[in-house]
């Protein structure tokens, strides 16, 4: 390794150097400078790609105490902890006292003098972080490929790790990248369906580790997730982080085996007389101090809040870059939109209107909240989905290819009655047990209602349906804290595929009108081509959808006036025809329509177009109502 990479391989050394230097000059503020140092280093061109990522490199390839990055999601926040910021050690041989720095470390050196005057107690916060839930395989792959950090096992192999863990990971050793891809390959919805039988299979650790870690619940929000989870120690500004934030954390990896020793049996007897130790339940210890080989500790040096997790877009760190990028894509947007529309029309069995609405849905985003009202959400209920040839599942696979993170939830009776959607606080283990609705922002949640069959929802089922209803109407999830509930706002795009009108509320319902005859449907579906992975067209779509979501938007006074006039006129003709709710929806449609064209302000044309497609949609619903007399 070149010496310039010392800050990657030995960040602790850098920190300690700064600490030592500060001893002669006490007011130097070395802590701020250390953080600054790493920030500066990371700002350098492509520097961040040199840092190995926990997401795509198996943990045992990483060198302990080196700098790593982790793209993650804050699943839980533990209590703040006090640690020895500065402490003094005594050499038993010479009685010489040395001051040491305890920051960014879990374990102290030998011979701590507890009664030293120079001990400085400091505070840090621990977050329990998991990989972003529902992150689609193409995102993972793309991030992994863009990384330039190639860690070669032979050089970074440090035998301080516990033997147990790397033996088990052996199967991954040979071809780590490929192995992971295979594991995380397209999650077929059928797989989920199967999982529904088992209530909490979702929390199983990655398969390669299950043998040793079956007792350890890594608490992933979604079933079948893989990847490392991490205890991130935050040293400053922890109030700025919120639960369910997406972060890219740069920090020092700590996997000291001493941390795992806690679980060892032989300690039990020694702990008996130590009241402070015996007070914690076994569950709590397991959760808060899991073996470091499974849940490494990451001491945060710098963290970036992620606006999106689309690897094709420049990360928000360099703002001038991203604005240039935006400008370049903006001009292309209308043409990409046409292509996407054509593709989705093809996918939606030739229904162009539904395809249009699907685009609007995919770029929708809660951009602001007015007291309790979230603005900008656009939950789409696509009714009339054919039930043959698992069409809804195919549709999901296509959406999965387009958006960075998504989740398929088959609303089968069994699933609804058994799955845990709402996170719940477990006071015994003192942690937040995750649920499928604990998702990062802009995750696409795909509810497949065609799977619903006749039967009865039990208490859990009713609660789950209520939670989904709340999520759709208010974009919030009430986490269950046993003694009270706590409301967490969220920003999740919900798409409901159903046969008739959904039992859940939605902002907008569109009935699919297939242009394909029922008899040819099977045939059509089998020939329906999926875009090949990583084709340039697919990438264009992906960029398009993410960019459209990030754009700013405004309405000029002029257009406001004309919108008002329109509303008044429409009401004059027939007051029943349009209610305040309809206007709300039309404003959202107009907003999304403009953004989908790459326009950042509402134009008269877009407004008229929004009115037009809304009218089309409504007339289709009327039609459908007449056909099906029993439709509510």
């Amino acid at each position: 390794m070149p010496s310039t990479h010392d800050w990657i391989n030995d960040p602790v050394g850098v920190v300690e150097g700064m600490f030592a230097a500060s001893q002669s000059n006490p007011s130097s503020g070395w802590e701020a400078r250390a953080v600054e140092f790493f920030k500066d280093r990371l700002k350098e061109k492509d520097a961040h790609t040199l840092v190995p990522s926990l997401n795509d490199i198996p943990m045992h390839y990483l060198k302990p105490n080196s700098l790593v990055k982790f793209r993650c999601f804050i699943q839980d926040m533990f209590d703040p902890e006090f640690y020895m910021g500065v402490y003094e050690t005594v050499d038993p041989a010479t009685q010489a006292k040395t001051l040491r720095c305890g920051k960014y470390k879990d374990v102290t050196e030998c011979g701590v003098d507890f009664n030293s005057k120079n001990t400085v107690t400091a505070e840090r916060q621990t977050f329990y972080c998991v990989p972003i839930p529902g992150e689609n395989p193409w995102v993972k792959e793309r991030y992994a490929n863009s990384s330039q950090a190639r860690v070669v096992p032979s050089t970074s192999y440090v035998p301080s790790r516990q033997k147990r863990s790397y033996e088990e990971d052996d199967d991954m050793d040979t071809q780590p990248q490929k192995q992971r891809e295979a594991h995380a390959g397209p999650q077929s919805p059928t797989e989920h369906h199967g999982n529904g039988d088992c209530k909490r299979q979702e929390t199983e650790a990655p398969s390669s580790q299950t043998t040793s870690a079956s007792h350890l619940d890594l608490n992933f929000p979604l079933p079948g997730e893989k990847g490392p989870s991490c205890l991130v120690k935050v040293y400053e500004d922890w109030d700025s982080f919120k639960l369910n934030d997406m972060l890219e954390v740069y920090g020092i990896l700590s996997v000291s085996p001493a941390l795992s020793a806690l679980a060892d049996e032989k300690d039990a007897s020694a702990n008996l007389l130590d009241p402070t130790e015996s007070m914690e339940t076994a569950e709590e210890q397991r959760v808060h101090c899991p073996p470091a080989s499974l849940v490494p500790r990451l001491h945060m040096l710098y963290a970036k809040q992620l606006q999106h997790n689309n690897p094709l877009l420049p990360s928000a760190a360099t703002s001038e870059d991203s604005s240039a990028f935006l400008a370049s894509t903006l001009s292309e947007m209308p043409s990409v939109r046409e292509e996407l529309l054509a593709y989705l029309t093809h996918v939606l069995l030739g229904d162009a209107l539904a395809a249009e609405y699907l685009i609007l849905h995919l770029i929708s985003n809660v951009y602001v909240r007015r007291d309790v009202l979230p603005l900008g959400k656009f939950t789409l209920n696509m009714s009339g989905c054919p039930t043959v040839a698992s069409y809804t599942e195919r549709l999901y696979q296509i959406i999965q290819q387009l958006v960075p993170s998504s989740h398929y939830l088959g609303m089968s009776l069994q699933n609804m009655n058994q799955i845990r959607l709402v996170p719940k606080k477990d006071y015994v283990a003192n942690r937040l047990v995750s649920g499928a609705l604990q998702l990062a922002k802009n995750t696409s949640l795909y509810l497949d209602e065609t799977q619903l069959e006749q039967g009865q929802l039990d208490t859990t089922g009713v609660r789950n349906v209520t939670a989904l209803g709340n999520l759709i109407s208010w974009q919030k999830v009430d986490y269950d804290f046993n003694y009270h509930q706590m409301e967490f706002p969220c920003n999740i795009n919900v798409l409901i595929a159903s046969e008739g009108r959904s039992l859940l509320p939605s902002d907008c319902q569109i009935h699919l009108q297939t242009q394909v005859a029922q008899s040819h449907l099977e045939e059509y579906l089998s020939t329906m081509h999926m875009l090949s992975q990583a084709s340039s067209q697919l990438n264009k779509f992906r960029i398009y959808l993410s960019v459209a979501r990030l754009l700013d938007y405004s309405i000029s006074d002029e257009v406001t006036k004309s919108v008002e006039d329109d509303f008044v006129d429409m009401r004059k003709d027939d007051p029943q025809s349009i209610s305040a709710e309809d206007l709300h929806r039309m404003l959202v449609v107009a907003r999304l329509l403009s953004l989908s064209q790459g326009q950042t302000s509402l134009s008269r044309d877009s407004w008229l177009r929004a009115k037009h497609i809304e009218a089309l949609r409504r007339s289709r619903m009327e039609q459908h109502k007449c056909v099906n007399g029993n439709e509510p």
Partner: protein
């Protein structure tokens, strides 16, 4: 109990009721042990390699004695070190056999809440040789200059100051319930001492705020060095007590329990600087552990010569003596469990209260240790204010490894618990909800209240994203404030409802749900349920088996949880009748009676109900009455003070304003949002303040105005032979008027309040109780479910039918259809089938005829 002379049986687990017998004293105990107070360790017996601070102090104690000059000459010289905290508590070994009264006669009880000092990293003491013990004594006219090591606390001065505080502190404005029955103009704490002498509960709770207002310096010392200062307080109070009541008998010495330290209020703001300080935090108990007997002192006996020795537990560990001092056998000492001393201990976990939390974060938890009689004082679910000492202990990864995890474990040693919701089940709890307002805040609120248009301002600040519906917002505003609670239980009517119930009905999509959501988010104790998703038990209470204790426990539902708050019920019409029926009791008597699984009880449910209902035909039919439109039982409807219709007004100017409002929602800037957010906070405080502090009473003019209003309302209908108001309406008017007075922060209900109440009530009536046939306001629609005109019409038809039948002469049975056709032919107005049925039923009630299937038979 650390005292070597402790009675082995009696000392275990708390209260010792046996007087110590001389026989229990170990005859061979070395003299050095006799001097031991609670803080000293076994001294020369067990030289500890890393002995903690207080261990160092005890050998120093004799030196102190020589240096000290006692402030009170009457005290025998060997008592001098009594004033030293090192000798905190009277070592009972010294006074064995003396009668149990006076300071010396009463055993000191160990205070593990303070005692765990030994486990704290008292670094500074160890690094200094004991000779440099901070107790630098020098004579001065002020008395001792001795300070406790590491602090600036002078024991003598501190004690004197505290005694002065006890003797002199008067708080004439005290409103605390604890002081009820005490003469507020007499020294407060002296009365409490008297209480102790009578009751015999040797605990003295001291409000830190009182200490602060009396002597700020003393207060500072108390919060900064609680583990040194509180024992000093204990000594002071005991001296004082036994001076005043020399003959009183206490189980053990009085312990001072300070509470209400202003140091820290929220768990989130705890930081390393608070370690070892006295803090008060509030939170909710989420878990309590089993009782843990914690060994305080181990008892060892030599297997060879039966020589016994005691070893104090240090940092959770016992240093087992390797050699018997008596017979010099090695490894002959064995631990005798039932002669060792244990104290009670319990781990309690508390979590931040949801109100104190920033959005988007999870609540923090803190571990609290309760000792001795504080064990089992609180239960999971309780809201408590805990005063205690914040501790941090380094964690050891493995006792056999020398490197430690560089993390401290933190906990609070509880000194005092105060439940904040203690009285909730029993009575009014306005005091319990002492939301603290800063002076500035109160000032701003008062300024706001003084504005003439405060009512309009507040109502427009309510749910700004919802357009217009001014009167509805005003109604909800009054609901938020509520009326004054009146107690008529002496005259047999019980409590009068003070809460205002409101029903919103109207077309779908008129933002009813949004309004409900807003209210739910605004009030501190609000509940939101949907009629579709809630069952009767979900609203009231249900019995379930607790998974841990396997006992049946009552789980309260939404209505009980929103006691003193607002229960928002959406889709009221979709509720099952069964569910709705539980609301009858809640909405008038404000209680909930439960008889389930052997649990019979009545719970308070003083909740205001804000309900929203959709019309049956999904669209409001203006040709029908409210009852017909929403199909709710009138018994329930009459319990709503205000029933508003939220309809689309369908007029152009309104449409334009609405459109403008909606469009502006979609492009307003962040700052405008901020402004509104501030408004919500102000509104919250305003309501909380008014609810807590303002209790308006009716003035003379207001009562007159109310009487007139009521009489007027009755008159309206009497002209047409209908009643348009019932006493329930009068009660509603009173509540509304009171609420309006609260909005103005006025202690008196005046005529303007009555005027507004009348106006609002009329508005609501106009909307909901207008008879669609006549256009008149008719309260009987709400009270009987049928308008008076409709009833009159029914009677007319019945009479006509009777005439028709009589005209037919002697035909005992007639065809139903035939009769209907005849009646239709005869009558000039249209007769519906329903009307005809009702007429038949009326006649059947008169026993004139019976209807069987399709035939009508005459009776008699």
């Amino acid at each position: 109990m650390s005292s070597p002379a402790s009675t082995p049986g009696g000392r275990k687990r708390g209260r010792n009721t046996n007087p110590p017998t001389p026989s229990s004293e170990d005859p061979t105990s070395p003299p050095s042990q006799r001097r031991r107070g609670q803080d000293s360790s076994t001294g020369d017996l067990m030289p500890m390699p890393t002995s903690p601070a207080t261990d160092i102090l005890s050998p120093a104690a004799p030196q102190d004695t020589s240096l000290l000059s006692s402030p009170r000459p009457s005290v025998p010289p060997n008592e001098v070190d009594m004033s030293s905290p090192l000798m905190y508590g009277t070592p009972s070994s010294r006074i064995e056999g003396t009668p149990r009264s006076g300071v010396r006669g009463t055993p000191a009880r160990q205070r593990p809440d303070l005692g765990s000092v030994r486990k704290a990293p008292q670094v500074d003491l160890h690094s200094e040789p004991p000779s440099a013990d901070g107790a630098v004594a020098s004579e001065s006219n002020a008395g001792q200059r001795l300070v406790i090591w590491g602090t600036d606390v002078n024991v003598g001065t501190c004690k004197e100051k505290f005694q002065r505080f006890l003797q002199r502190f008067v708080d004439p404005t005290s409103t605390e319930d604890e002081n009820a029955g005490l003469d507020l103009n007499e020294p407060l704490y002296m009365q409490k001492l008297e209480e102790i002498s009578v009751v015999g509960d040797p605990v003295m709770n001291v409000n830190c705020r009182h200490v602060q207002s009396f002597d700020a310096e003393l207060y500072r010392q108390l919060t900064c060095y609680p583990q040194e200062v509180i024992p000093t307080f204990d000594m002071a109070v005991n001296e004082l007590f036994f001076e005043r009541f020399p003959d009183s008998f206490l189980e053990y010495q009085i312990q001072v329990r300070p509470y209400n330290a202003v140091k820290t209020k929220s768990m989130r703001s705890l930081n390393p600087e608070d370690i070892d300080q006295l803090i008060t935090i509030s939170g909710m108990v989420i878990r309590t552990s089993q009782l843990i007997p914690e060994m305080q002192e181990a008892f060892f006996q030599c297997q060879v010569c039966a020589y016994s020795t005691r070893v104090e537990v240090d940092r959770g560990r016992i240093a087992e003596p390797a050699v018997c001092r008596h017979c010099n056998t090695t490894h002959s000492l064995a631990l005798i469990h039932n002669r060792s001393v244990f104290s009670d201990k319990q781990m309690i976990k508390i979590q931040e209260s949801p109100e104190d939390m920033p959005a988007g974060q999870t609540p923090h938890t803190t571990i609290v240790y309760a000792h001795n009689d504080l064990v089992d004082k609180v239960q999971p679910g309780d809201r408590v204010n805990i005063t205690g000492i914040y501790r941090a202990v380094p964690m050891r990864v493995n006792p056999r490894q020398s490197n430690v995890k560089s993390v401290y474990k933190t906990h609070i040693d509880a000194i005092h618990f105060r439940k904040t919701d203690e009285k909730r089940l029993h009575g009014l709890d306005e005091e319990a909800e002492q939301k603290l307002f800063t002076e500035d805040r109160v000032q701003t609120l008062k300024e706001l209240a003084a504005k003439p248009d405060v009512y309009e301002r507040l109502s427009s600040a309510l749910a700004p994203s919802i357009y217009e519906h001014e009167d509805i917002k005003k109604g909800i505003l009054l609901q938020l404030f509520g009326g004054t609670r009146k107690d008529f239980s002496q005259t047999g009517r019980g409590n009068f409802r003070a809460e205002v119930n409101i029903l919103l009905c109207g077309d779908p999509g008129t933002s009813k749900s949004q309004l409900l959501q807003y209210v739910y988010n605004l009030v501190p104790r609000g509940q939101y349920t949907s009629g579709k998703g809630s069952s009767a038990v979900g609203l009231t209470a249900y019995v379930m088996k607790d998974p841990e204790t396997r006992q049946l426990v009552l789980q309260t539902g939404a209505l009980v949880l929103s006691d003193n708050g607002i229960c928002c019920i959406d889709e009221f019409d979709k509720m099952s009748d069964n569910t709705r029926s539980v609301l009858h009791e809640v909405m008038e008597q404000q209680t909930l009676s439960i008889a389930k699984a052997g649990i019979i009880c009545q719970l308070n449910a003083r909740t205001a109900v804000l309900a929203a209902a959709n019309p049956v035909e999904s669209q409001w039919n203006p040709k029908k009455t409210t009852i017909e439109n929403i199909q709710l039982p009138h018994t329930l409807l009459s319990r709503f003070d205000l029933i508003f219709l939220m309809l689309d007004p369908q007029d152009e100017a309104y449409d334009r304003r609405l459109a403008h409002h909606l469009v502006s929602l979609y492009y307003q800037t962040e700052e405008q949002m901020e402004e509104e957010f501030l408004d919500m906070a102000v509104l919250k405080d305003y309501i909380a303040y008014a609810r807590t502090y303002i209790n308006p009473r009716l003035s003379e003019e207001a009562s007159q105005a109310l009487i007139e209003a009521y009489v007027d309302m009755r008159k309206i209908g009497s002209g047409r032979g209908m009643v348009s108001a019932y006493p329930r309406q009068l009660e509603s008017l009173i509540r509304l008027a009171e609420a309006h007075a609260k909005v103005r922060f006025s202690e008196k209900v005046e005529t303007i309040d009555v005027e507004e109440a009348k106006r609002l009530h009329r508005e609501a009536l106009k909307q909901s109780a207008t008879d669609p046939r006549t256009g008149f306001v008719d309260i009987s629609i709400l009270t009987t479910g049928m308008s008076a005109t409709a009833r009159k019409r029914k009677e007319e038809v019945a009479q006509a039918l009777k005439k028709l039948i009589q005209a037919k002469g002697k035909t005992p049975a007639m065809k139903y259809q035939q009769l209907l056709d005849d009646l239709r032919g005869q009558s000039e107005t249209a007769i519906t089938k329903e009307l005809f049925d009702e007429a038949l039923r009326a006649l059947a009630d008169e026993d004139y005829l019976t209807v069987t299937g399709k035939t009508v038979r005459l009776l008699a």
